[in-house]
Symmetry: C2
Subunit: 328 residues, 2 copies
């Protein structure tokens, strides 16, 4: 039986290089990779699965899951059922066990004092630059959920706000609407920005003028921009909002102006929060797959811990359009 040493010899490279090629870990030039696979083929060598993976058989990894106080406090007082981050946390707790990972949920604010973990999951967008630096310096695998840091090449799982917003806007256009407005929250963190881009690209592709009003993601702020919009732009045919809460406040304010949804204006939200189907009218929206995001984060972290596909990726989870009564 040929060994890894035989392969290294025939290919004229080190054993470490052969191992990198087999496990897909670390950079190997195209040429070297080709030589190694050629040698493997010629010798009929059967590569073992990742040494890291073998070493990990039966091993229980300790995973620390961090979320900020802002996220954890309401979950602890109201119970986590159905809440956005509650669902993600439950998905992580439920799935890590099956993958041989032991989970501890911790407060992000205490990250600097924590130790003893084999890997980390960070939930939400509250990572400071200082914390990110500390995380990186620990040289342990980690995955962000519901957060992406542009230009940092950090593994993360987020919902595909671009694709969902594009779909929703195209839907409105296909229904014959032309005067379609986007009411959005702050464009940092990245979540609202992706939705903004999807709306903009769909409008421009259809030859329509995108029209934006920015609010601060509060009821008071939404009321204000709705008033500004009605004053300057008039009543649009349809409104697409950054999230379901803004949609809810928008519909409420429109009603106070005597404008009916969906008869006068169609409204689409984003997220499909638990209450969306109980709105008056029930809200047409994009469903975000929170549970799936948690599952994928566990899976990805497990891959990193076992040395499979170690090159960093950004995983975007597609949303699903849910048609209810707030659109004509």
């Amino acid at each position: 039986m040929p060994t890894i040493e035989d392969v290294a010899k025939l290919a004229g490279v080190s054993i470490a290089t052969v191992s990198r090629v087999i496990n897909g870990s670390g950079y190997v030039s195209e040429k070297t990779r080709y030589k190694v696979w050629k040698a493997i083929e010629e010798l009929g060598y059967k590569p073992e699965i990742s040494a890291k993976l073998l070493a990990s058989k039966g091993k229980l990894f300790n995973i620390h899951v961090f979320a900020s106080k802002r996220i954890l406090s309401p979950l602890q007082s109201n119970g986590i059922l159905g809440e956005f981050y509650g669902v993600i946390i439950r998905a992580i707790e439920e799935n890590c066990g099956r993958l041989g990972m032991n989970v501890e949920l911790k407060m992000l604010e205490n990250f600097f004092e924590s130790n003893g973990a084999d890997g980390y999951i960070f939930i939400g967008g509250d990572l400071s630059e200082k914390t990110l630096k500390e995380i990186k310096s620990r040289k342990k695998p980690f995955v962000l959920v519901d957060h992406y840091i542009p230009g940092e090449r950090v593994d993360c799982v987020i919902s595909d706000g671009y694709d969902g917003a594009l779909y929703a806007t195209n839907y409105l256009i296909s229904k014959g609407f032309r005067r379609i407005v986007h009411i959005h929250g702050p464009l940092h963190p990245y979540g609202f920005k992706m939705r903004y881009d999807g709306y903009k690209d769909a409008m421009e592709k259809a030859g329509l003028m995108p029209r934006f009003y920015e609010c601060d993601d509060t009821e008071e702020g939404t009321r204000k921009v709705i008033d500004i919009m009605l004053n300057s732009y008039g009543t649009p045919e349809a409104i697409f909002t950054s999230n379901d809460s803004i949609a809810f406040w928008t519909i409420k304010r429109l009603k106070e102006h005597g404008i009916r949804v969906p008869e006068d204006v169609s409204v689409i939200g984003f997220d499909d929060i638990v209450d969306a189907e109980n709105f008056d009218p029930p809200l047409t929206t994009l469903r975000v797959f929170k549970y799936e995001m948690g599952c994928l984060a566990c899976k990805r972290l497990h891959e990193l811990l076992t040395g499979i596909n170690p090159h960093p990726v950004r995983i975007l989870v597609f949303t699903q359009f849910v048609k209810r009564k707030s659109t004509k």
Copy 2:
């Protein structure tokens, strides 16, 4: 030992629903999911791994990999070593075997006559609407590589052009450049568009004016827009291009005008093609991880075939900045 029937009974749902919850396949409401996991916990039921996965143990899946004639012909005549799509194809061939998948490489133009596959991988952006419709109608798992179709919710693996372009532009800005131009190819298919967006967002965030010149991704076209740029805008401090070929033609044309790279203008490409290090000067660029893209596509298809994380995702593979001599 508690069974799946016991769980279904206690949770008050069907066995199929319990199975969907356990395998994370198909839609289950948050509430139901919670009831099922509660029942599992109370009973101490140990969920088996996916039934699909069990059934697949030792099974060899037949995978058909499709690429268009445009992609395959040059590979067949020039040999595939090092070519962009050649590397992706090799990665797929090498990795499918290890995952118990039998691969056949086929011409996309013959897709309608093909049959007998358990799943498909499609390489590149040449899918027509008609072909996509036929693919979907076959109800087999499939993954696109180096192609994303906005709004279609189709599993795909692409390189993260947005993140790479943003990184490159931020790099130029950090070096003190202000007059940074983007020379780009057609914004369909989606690849160049993501790079365009990354450049634009980085410029705007820094308070700089983005400046675009569109060419047709040929040498002749690039010459023309360089001349137009020099005439109307003057000599920029730096140029970021959609890909390495455009960078190469740009540098060539600048030289003909007596403009030196990097002394007068810094240039950054995208892709890190095999020739990039042999350019004069050697090209600073973003490396696209073609081999890793192929590996991830195999892995993703295998997950879909075995019922793991079946919700569709878009996987973006981060690029890596490679500093050579074309930037100061």
